[in-house]
């Protein structure tokens, strides 16, 4: 493992009987970068980071975290990481300060170092003025901030964040994304999971796309987008479901892929400016009317659609 590799995942498997949650994935996370695991719900992201953070034992394979094997030296791994779970994991009958103090002790902090770090994290999370309030009475955004703050207490080399923006308002989400970038700017390596394409796109130095427990693509944002080349993604809605118009479009010159979900059609096309008039013409010939059109430049959503035939939101 090179000196700048913070996490090395090697042939990692996890299965529960006949159910395979993770199927032999491998990737490296470089020190100082933000690395995103992108994939729909059930792709195996949480299972993967649960193994990285020593919560689950792999069926096969190993993970090295700053040189510590999760199999041979789990305590070394745990000392190096801070974990932000997807669900808020706080003691709601304790105050913010009591929560931070307790978790700080669990990370080995004591005495004045603990008090100092608790004060700092209260400032970072913007909870200093509410530090004595029971966390059970906090807003969802405040709980999220405290949930992240706990993982920062011991200044971990690596921060593992499992979908930290699920179910929160746009403003809180924005704050979290900004704080992730700030923590990374200060030198923390971040392993981030999400099913929001735009989050992975905004934050990540490298992205691994997962589906059904497998790693289906890996690279920088630009490298991944190159998979679909210059193709545009067109999302259409038509006045009535029509098999004939689907057939016509499938054979239309410049259309590479077409999928239908919930009355919405997703197409990958060479150049939307050229292909779109042909689609309108075919629809008219099939007796169908296009009611809405959305054109997107090549992005991770298109990559996922191209690789799996399904939209990422599934």
């Amino acid at each position: 493992m090179s000196t700048d590799t913070a996490i090395r995942v090697q042939e990692l498997h996890k299965n529960y009987g006949d159910v395979y949650a993770v199927r032999g994935i491998s990737f490296d996370v470089h020190a100082g970068e933000i690395f995103s695991l992108l994939g729909p719900n059930g792709a195996g992201k949480t299972t993967t980071i649960s193994m990285v953070s020593c919560l689950l034992e792999p069926t096969q394979g190993d993970v090295s975290v700053v040189g510590h094997s999760i199999r041979r030296d789990p305590m070394g791994v745990k000392a190096a990481i801070g974990v932000v779970p997807q669900e808020i994991a706080l003691y709601e009958d304790l105050s913010a300060r009591e929560n931070l103090t307790f978790w700080g002790k669990m990370y080995g902090l004591r005495g004045s170092a603990l008090r100092q770090r608790v004060n700092q994290v209260l400032e970072i999370t913007g909870l200093a003025e509410r530090q004595k309030g029971r966390t059970g009475k906090f807003s969802g955004g405040m709980k999220r901030r405290l949930n992240i703050g706990i993982a920062l207490l011991h200044r971990p080399q690596i921060l593992i964040m499992d979908e930290p923006t699920v179910g929160i308002d746009p403003q809180s989400r924005r704050n979290i994304l900004d704080s992730v970038k700030e923590m990374n700017r200060q030198g923390t390596t971040i392993l981030y999971t999400t099913h929001y394409m735009e989050e992975a796109q905004e934050l990540s130095d490298h992205i691994a796309i997962m589906d059904h427990g497998e790693l289906i693509a890996y690279g920088t944002h630009d490298e991944l987008v190159e998979i679909v080349g210059e193709m545009d993604r067109i999302t259409l809605m038509i006045s009535a479901e029509s098999a004939s118009v689907m057939e016509r479009w499938r054979t239309t010159d410049g259309v590479h892929q077409i999928t239908a979900e919930d009355g919405t059609l997703n197409l990958l096309v060479d150049d939307s400016n050229v292909v779109l008039p042909r689609l309108f013409e075919s629809a008219t010939q099939a007796g169908t009317r296009i009611t809405s059109v959305e054109i997107q430049e090549p992005n991770l959503e298109a990559v996922f659609l191209h690789l799996t035939g399904r939209a990422l939101r599934d």
């Binding site: 953070s53 919560l55 745990k78 779970p85 669900e87 003691y91």
Partner: protein, 431 residues
């Protein structure tokens, strides 16, 4: 150190929970408090202010002329109506058996005592007769007291009858003719009747009473535990044990609650050994029960005057209870998959084992229920709560260290067994 941090955190959370506090302290004390008020605990220093039991007496006894002026039925009525029992019994004579039974059915009386027509003849001569006690089935204490008094009189006559019978047989064996022996028997019976009548008259005058009923105040001074105090004490220890086991189960359930809330998995991501995490949580369960028991013991002693026994045996009984209740809670919780099952399992298992385990509490102090008490005691020893109760009652009955060693050893052995099974199951679960 982390073990203590985890235990302190759990204790802080437990003692901030209003529900837990009510369950741990308020309900046990409230239950005993109800008994305290029911027995007139606030009535002053007299102590035994138990409401007098209403008794309807029907005396159908018609002694034959061979017994002179003596009437066993009359003697029994005099006893029940005596001044000494006026605090316990409120006796009135009914016009007939039907009227007396009707009074009980209408709950105007707790018990009817119906003395048969040939009572004196059966008591002193040949044949047999039965005094009928017709009681309100919902009551135990008052009818039990009446039964106790009636039994003493009837047993006295039966004893005398057996004695004269044996005397006659021996006289015949010694060569005395049967007719002479029978005449002698009649003479003894008459003498016994005369003696009993004189005793009854003396009793009416307040001298040489047949029964010496002492008040609780006097009993305390003489070192004898009062009935009220005994009821309160046994109820208190029963409630304390019953709820200590519930508290242990509830405290152990925090492992499941933390698992579901995500804080336990999060703890497992910190550089803290799993054994330390589980150890801290178990220590919190142990300390929670210890605090509960100490608080209840102190409050019960101060508020209700419960005498818990000598300090060292009491400390050993406390140790046994805390270990056994904690480990049983951990064991039971380790059998559950999630907190949705706790209501059924804790409610069912804890209630059944708890009620069987402390059932002797409800019979031990009732004079009429000595047989039931023995059965309840035997059954209770099949439950962990029963051994805890046994140990505590040994101490409360004045037992010393050596007396409490056996129940303590059983409690610790059971506790160790439950603890090992529970911890092994949790370790496997979180491996």
């Amino acid at each position: 150190m982390k073990l203590l941090d985890i235990a302190i955190k759990d204790l802080l959370r437990s003692f901030r929970s209003a529900f837990a506090l009510v369950f741990m302290f308020v309900i046990p004390l409230l239950t005993v408090g109800l008994f305290y008020f029911a027995f007139g605990g606030l009535g002053g220093d007299d102590g035994f202010d138990l409401a007098a039991t209403k008794v309807q007496v029907v005396n159908l006894d018609e002694p034959g002329s061979e017994y002179g002026d003596f009437s066993a039925g009359h003697m029994l009525v005099d006893l029940l109506e005596s001044e000494n029992l006026s605090g316990l019994l409120e006796v009135s004579e009914a016009s007939g058996p039907a009227r007396a039974r009707a009074a009980v059915d209408a709950q105007e009386a707790a018990v009817a005592v119906i003395i048969p027509a040939d009572f004196t003849g059966a008591a002193l001569g040949a044949g047999s007769a039965a005094v009928e006690l017709y009681q309100d089935p919902t009551l135990t204490l008052g009818p039990g007291i009446v039964k106790s008094f009636v039994s003493q009189i009837v047993d006295g006559f039966a004893g005398a009858k057996i004695a004269t019978g044996v005397a006659v047989e021996q006289l015949v064996e010694q060569g005395v003719s049967a007719s002479d022996a029978e005449a002698l028997k009649q003479e003894i019976n008459l003498a016994y009747g005369q003696w009993a009548t004189e005793l009854g008259e003396a009793h009416q005058d307040g001298a040489n009473p047949l029964l010496d009923v002492q008040s609780t105040g006097d009993a305390g001074e003489e070192g004898t535990e009062s009935l009220t105090q005994k009821i309160l004490s046994t109820t208190m220890v029963g409630m304390m044990i019953f709820y200590a086991f519930f508290t242990a189960a509830n405290a152990s359930e925090s492992i499941l609650r933390e698992e579901e809330a995500g804080t336990l998995p999060r703890l497992f991501t910190t550089p803290t050994p799993q054994s330390t995490i589980l150890g801290g949580k178990l220590l919190a369960v142990f300390v929670t029960i210890l605090v509960q028991v100490i608080v209840l013991v102190v409050i019960a002693a101060l508020a209700f005057g419960v005498a818990w026994g000598a300090p060292l045996p009491l400390a050993l009984a406390t140790l046994g209870l805390v270990v056994l209740a904690s480990s049983f809670g951990v064991f039971l919780t380790s059998l559950l998959k999630n907190t949705k099952q706790t209501g059924i399992v804790f409610g069912g298992v804890m209630t059944v084992t708890g009620m069987v385990g402390i059932s002797s509490v409800f019979t031990a102090s009732v004079p009429a229920a000595s047989d039931a008490s023995q059965v309840a005691h035997t059954l209770s020893l099949l439950m962990p709560q029963g051994w805890a109760l046994h140990g505590w009652r040994v101490v409360m009955d004045g037992g010393g260290v050596s007396d409490v060693l056996v129940p303590l050893a059983v409690m610790l052995a059971l506790g160790a067994g439950f603890f090992v099974i529970g911890v092994l199951r949790f370790r496997k679960r979180f491996a």
